[in-house]
């Protein structure tokens, strides 16, 4: 499956949990397989954005379907920062403290805000593609991105003061 890394990255940031991320990616790939015949390239939608949309929808519906748990697994610093650092050595380039405070700031974002940040900054999608993936108008993409960035900034600043 092309774009498996991109799919995993999105799933991992949305679910904040390795096991859930893997389940989401697997489900999404099977769904992609099923709907592939319905995918028409062109119209500005790349295959990557299309797959990411499926990953995103799978992650969000998995979250709704979980009994009791209304949110994705809560961020557990001890588990998650270490797990990411171990498996993804590039993450250790960031100073440990900075990494942890950033992870906390990111975790504090609502999923709708976290999603646009990841789609833009990590997956490098255009506003148009993000609007397709998240099924919201471009204006909403812009305002969510702006809000998400401002929240991250505030969170990072307040972390610094601690």
């Amino acid at each position: 499956m092309p774009h498996l890394d991109a799919a995993y990255t999105l799933a991992r940031y949305l679910t904040r949990n390795d096991a859930d991320a893997e389940d989401v990616v697997q489900d999404a790939c099977l769904r992609a397989l099923k709907y592939f015949a319905g995918f028409r390239g062109g119209e500005g939608t790349s295959a990557r954005a299309w797959l990411l949309a499926i990953v995103r929808n799978t992650a969000f519906s998995a979250r709704r379907g979980k009994p009791g748990a209304a949110a994705f697994t809560e961020f557990d610093e001890a588990v998650h920062s270490e797990a990411i650092a171990e498996r993804h050595p590039e993450a250790t380039l960031l100073k440990r403290d900075a990494r942890e405070s950033f992870a906390r700031a990111l975790a504090s974002l609502a999923p709708e805000l976290r999603e646009v940040v990841v789609l833009r900054e990590v997956e490098g999608l255009s506003y148009k593609e993000i609007s397709d993936v998240a099924s919201v108008p471009m204006g909403t993409v812009m305002s969510r991105l702006s809000r998400a960035r401002t929240r991250l900034q505030e969170a990072l600043l307040s972390e610094k003061e601690r």
């Binding site: 092309p2 990616v25 990411i84 950033f102 990111l106 900054e121 990590v122 960035r149």
Partner: protein, 258 residues
């Protein structure tokens, strides 16, 4: 005091989502409003922090295997009666998995190569800004710069005069990048400098992404007229994009010294 109507445009501006007219208006404002300019600088620093804190991840090998297996068994299942699944889609996808497994390894290697090249380019750019390193042939005259390369390179780079458009030629020099000698044309923009690297595209290193930002510099890459082009500068992305557009226009209308 910042101006909300401009502040709201800063993020789309940095995301390269504004059109040329909006970019011009915003940049004109930013050059005059210190408060809004400070907001832009903060947002730029924030973006760096966000990117640094959000590494792209690699799917674990176990997951890769799991997905391959699931797709393969789905493919086998679909070989039967299913009407919804065109039977050859799963097969094609299963086959593409095998290809991708090899492909992503190659991609990793290529990315490392691209990164090394980008670093060379950046080092060359920074070195050129140190006193006495910018030009071998300092001249604003394209008719002086172009012949200077004769006998120094195995190609004769196209040299364009963009002074009328606000990007005067500063000079040219030789450099060595990715294992070959390349031509460098230096252009100015206010107090900023732009290094344009070019070489015949069949003979150079592999290409990288079209737009990159490193350590406060923007790197643009394109291919045209059989050459690989790179422009490196501390100019804002939109201005550098405009410069690239002018250079491409000049190149396709053939206004260079031939």
């Amino acid at each position: 005091m910042t101006h909300p109507e401009f502040v709201d445009q800063v993020d789309p501006y940095l995301d390269d989502e504004l059109d040329r007219v909006q970019v011009r208006a915003l940049e004109a404002h930013l050059s005059q409003c210190a408060e809004c300019a400070r907001f832009r600088d903060e947002r730029m620093a924030l973006r760096e922090a966000i990117r640094g804190g959000l590494p792209g991840l690699r799917a674990p090998d176990m997951l890769r295997k799991r997905v391959e297996k699931a797709v393969r068994s789905a493919a086998a299942g679909a070989g039967g009666r299913s009407v919804r699944w065109a039977p050859w889609w799963p097969l094609a996808l299963a086959a593409s998995l095998a290809v991708v497994a090899v492909g992503s390894w190659r991609l990793g290697e290529r990315r490392a190569g691209e990164e090394a090249f980008t670093q060379q380019l950046l080092a060359s750019h920074v070195r050129s800004l140190m006193p006495g390193h910018l030009t071998d042939v300092p001249s604003t005259d394209q008719h002086t710069v172009k012949p200077w390369f004769n006998g120094r390179l195995d190609f004769s780079p196209p040299v364009h005069d963009l002074s009328q458009r606000g990007y005067p030629l500063v000079g040219g020099r030789l450099d060595y990048l990715g294992g070959r000698a390349v031509a460098v044309l230096v252009y100015g923009r206010r107090q900023h400098l732009i290094n344009v690297y070019l070489w015949p595209s069949t003979a150079g290193p592999e290409v990288g992404p079209a737009v990159q930002a490193r350590q406060g510099y923007q790197l643009l890459h394109w291919s045209l007229s059989g050459y690989s082009w790179w422009a490196v500068s501390d100019l804002g992305l939109s201005e550098l994009q405009e410069f690239k557009g002018l250079l491409k226009d000049a190149e396709s209308t053939g206004s260079s010294v031939q």
